[in-house]
């Protein structure tokens, strides 16, 4: 249906940087992007799920909107490049097999409430006893200990507690998170950095360690300049709506309607700032500068002459009106091209369709086609988030089906024979090709 220029999963020119290492990934939606990052970097990441599959397989949206544990696009997105097994960790045999896997692994990632792994006999100390060099990463809403450690949080709660939503939305209306999980993504990718720091230390010293990552704290580190504003001048930055905070004051407007969508019109130093002269000349060339092409306005706007005093409300309002009228006349691509020619860093507000069809991403072979053989189809996924020259990131496989790799992991890696696998399945410790689409 949707054609795209792209590369194909499986065209792998060289192994990834983490190819020698194995990861056991027990995480839910709070941490799955952490394992995805390690998998993209080449690690053998094995998703370990309870029989029946991880509850996050029920997160919407679904392929063709059919709720099914093998059809969650959320599962597909955050578990691509991983293998998958089922294992009942509340069962003695399941725990014993897990410890056997830990002996052969380098990382364990988990998101259970603080203390839950230890209660199963699988806390950091238990795992380090069988694999001293293990790096274990625990991602939780608030951290392993402390007054809020047992509190519950979803993405929205993390974003609220971490200070993010109070920086977004309109004053007088409710503060906003993006309509997609961001605090989770931050917790997961920051935990990935912590995990890799621990790994680097292990490479040089042989020592393992425990990484304790917090959703709230991860959210609290993406607040732009808001924390120092409070620290240094005791100002809580206001929510700017469709403006920007500059120096604690709200600028007029930042996203404008173009002829074919929206454009983000902002340059260093604000809408005019250091490039005021060039920007006004640009508008003037389109007959859209109104009265701005005057020495009086340049004196007010041209920051290359030194810091300008704040505009009056009437002047700020006038500028917004002039820009609104200008942007509405032209398509986004032309606005961006012409803005960039005078070093104004504007960009279009891209929709998903814009991104898929984007000339630049296509020229870089960003989009990657991933086969879903069980559906008899292939789908286009976002491609490499970094281009490592010697150890490239590659999208090698779609997310695992429930228990898809039980035989190859428990059989080939742990050496269990067919009879033993059947016995484990009969005792509901594992599942053998249970899911299927």
């Amino acid at each position: 249906m949707i054609a795209a220029a792209h590369t194909h999963a499986g065209d792998v020119p060289a192994p990834g940087a983490l190819a020698p290492f194995r990861v056991l990934d027990l995480t839910n939606e709070l941490g799955q992007l952490c394992g995805r990052v390690l998998a993209d970097l080449g690690a053998d990441v094995i998703k370990v799920e309870p029989p029946g599959g991880d509850p996050s397989r029920w997160i919407a949206p679904f392929y063709r909107d059919e709720p099914h544990p093998e059809r969650s696009l959320h599962w597909w997105m955050f578990n691509a490049n991983k293998r998958g097994i089922t294992l009942d960790l509340t069962h003695d045999d399941g725990r014993a097999l897990f410890l056997e896997l830990v002996r052969r692994s380098d990382f364990v990632l988990e998101t259970s409430p603080p203390g839950a792994m230890a209660a199963l006999g699988l806390g950091y100390d238990d795992l380090a006893a069988v694999r001293p060099s293990l790096v274990m990463t625990s991602i939780t809403p608030f951290g392993q200990d402390g007054p809020y450690a047992q509190w519950k949080a979803s993405d929205l709660i993390g974003a609220a507690m971490g200070g993010q939503i109070m920086l977004n939305g309109e004053l007088g209306r409710e503060p906003l998170r993006p309509t997609m999980s961001q605090a989770y993504a931050h917790a997961a990718i920051q935990a990935a950095v912590g995990t890799l720091i621990a790994h680097f230390h292990r490479t040089r010293s042989g020592e393992g360690q425990h990484v304790d990552a917090s959703l709230e704290e991860a959210a609290a580190t993406w607040l732009d300049n808001a924390a120092p504003f409070w620290d240094l001048v005791r100002v809580n930055l206001p929510r700017p709506g469709n403006g920007r905070s500059t120096g604690g004051r709200l600028s007029g407007k930042y996203v404008y309607e173009a002829a074919d969508g929206y454009v983000a019109a902002l340059s260093y130093g604000g809408l005019f700032g250091l490039n005021a002269r060039q920007t006004i000349a640009w508008l003037d060339a389109h007959g859209a500068a109104a009265d701005l092409a005057s020495e009086e306005w340049l004196e007010k706007l041209d920051a290359s002459r030194g810091v300008r005093p704040p505009l009056s409300d009437a002047d700020a309002h006038h500028l917004v009106e002039v820009l609104e009228a200008f942007c509405r006349r032209l398509p986004r691509a032309q606005l961006m091209r012409e803005a960039q020619a005078i070093r104004n860093g504007w960009a279009p507000v891209h929709t998903p369709r814009d991104l898929l069809e984007h000339e630049h991403l296509r020229a870089r072979d960003y989009w990657t086609e991933v086969a879903h053989p069980e559906l008899g189809a292939s789908f286009v996924y976002p491609g490499p988030w970094a281009r490592l020259g010697a150890t490239p990131i590659a999208l090698r496989r779609r997310a695992p089906l429930i228990g898809e790799h039980n035989d190859e992991v428990l059989g080939a890696l742990l050496g269990l024979d067919e009879a033993r696998l059947e016995a484990l399945a009969a005792a509901d410790v594992i599942e053998r090709r249970g899911g299927g689409a």
């Binding site: 609220a160 890799l196 960009a347 630049h360």
Partner: protein, 423 residues
């Protein structure tokens, strides 16, 4: 262990723990947000990160508020300081005739080179990866322009406020029928550095094991798309263009921020509540004292609560208005409802959990005095990292970098200094 002081942060401990990146040296040509936040991870875990800056083309954040005491100055910005803890500062004026030679001599002693210019800058100076390999064969270089090293947009510029628009984040952020306002901040500046750091540390690890360095072409837009959750797959798989819908969630209700009682004269207090099942909904009704709402057949199932979400939110908001946000949060959490105050930065500095984890580090700066810095959001049990010093003054470490590392003679150093090479 670290000591807390009265303002709720911690101080650098006297006896340093082991540093994961001890012995790693970084020549940091990057500026503004993405580059400095990437190298901050290395600096805060023991690498020697040298910020190479020029007062002739000043780092933008040195000129951006907030300033200590509200007084502008190139060494007074809290915006700059927070991203540059634990780093050294050296001046290098790239328009000086010997600048490229000096840059190469610094790089010869470094394991990592970072930069975030549009791709033409390093090419113009002859500081490409191929050239740097000549002076340091196992060097790892990460280039972090907005759009990557190649492709028709590679020379375009911008920063986080506009890149979030280009990456699809604005499209998904705003009120249901409102404009695509984005996140209120230069968002991608705070998302992509974690992925850049992950790539960089993986490359360092590869070099440690194999001896092989490499170049990393890190196009910020390609990383930022990983912030869009299922937005792209829903389009490529189902042909559906997802849209912004405020705080709502397709599988939870109520799922939003609700106004609470004023705190003093501050009438901008909100609590976030997210209910995903009948148990959380019943517990919410119990704490709010609206058992009648719980019995309302419209709200009896998750599907019903989604269908009647406007009425549901109005009913919940009418009750939260009477509560102090903090008290309601504690009561809801005790009842098992995911809930949290929409905290301001003032609140964060008083947050008992962040204080317990010692998130903020209080560091003494020669011009700015004692300021709070963000530490990493994770705790490593053996190599916890430490913010070893406040942000560098511009050029503060010139002598160390050019005399001790590069090996300039005293006379040569003074001549270059007088000639403006370090300006």
């Amino acid at each position: 262990m670290t000591a807390s002081d009265r303002t709720g942060g911690r101080r650098t401990p006297a006896a340093p723990p082991r540093d994961a990146f001890a012995g790693i040296r970084v020549a940091d040509f990057a500026w503004v947000g993405v580059g400095p936040l990437t190298s901050k991870y290395l600096a805060d875990h023991g690498a020697e990160v040298i910020r190479l800056e020029s007062r002739t083309r000043p780092e933008a954040l040195r000129r951006a508020p907030p300033f200590a005491g509200g007084q502008p100055g190139q060494d007074r910005s809290g915006y700059y300081a927070n991203f540059n803890s634990s780093k050294l500062g050296a001046g290098l004026n790239m328009s000086h005739p010997r600048a490229v030679e000096l840059a190469k001599r610094v790089i010869a002693g470094c394991d990592v080179v970072t930069e975030s210019f549009t791709p033409k800058a390093m090419r113009a100076w002859g500081l490409t990866y191929e050239a740097l390999r000549e002076v340091r064969p196992d060097v790892i270089m990460i280039s972090m322009p907005l759009y990557g090293a190649t492709g028709p947009w590679s020379m375009y510029q911008g920063y986080g406020h506009v890149l979030q628009a280009a990456s699809g984040i604005n499209h998904m952020t705003g009120y249901r029928d409102g404009e695509p306002i984005g996140t209120g901040i230069a968002y991608t500046d705070f998302f992509v550095p974690h992925l850049a750091a992950a790539a960089l540390i993986a490359a360092l690890d590869h070099r440690e094991r194999t001896g092989e360095g490499q170049h990393i072409d890190f196009g910020q837009m390609e990383a930022a798309i990983y912030a869009t959750e299922t937005m792209m797959l829903d389009y490529t798989v189902n042909g559906r263009e997802q849209r912004r819908d405020g705080n709502r969630h397709p599988q939870g209700a109520p799922h939003g921020a609700f106004r609470c009682a004023p705190r003093g004269d501050d009438d901008d207090r909100w609590i976030a509540v997210a209910c995903f099942d009948d148990g959380e909904w019943a517990a919410l009704c119990g704490v709010l004292g609206v058992e009648g709402l719980c019995a309302d057949p419209r709200f009896a199932t998750p599907e019903g609560r989604k269908r009647h979400e406007d009425a549901l939110e109005a009913a919940v908001g009418a009750r939260t208005r009477g509560w102090q946000a903090e008290e309601l949060m504690a009561r809801l959490q005790a009842a098992g409802v995911p809930a949290g105050v929409a905290q301001t930065c003032e609140d964060l500095r008083a947050d008992a959990q962040l204080a317990h984890r010692g998130h903020y580090w209080l560091l003494d700066h020669p011009e700015m005095g004692r300021c709070a810095y963000d530490g990493p959001s994770f705790r490593l049990s053996r190599t916890p990292g430490r913010l070893s010093k406040a942000a560098p003054l511009l050029g503060a470490d010139n002598e160390y970098v050019y005399r001790d590392l590069v090996g300039l003679s005293e006379q040569e150093f003074i001549e270059l200094l007088a000639g403006g090479a370090f300006d």
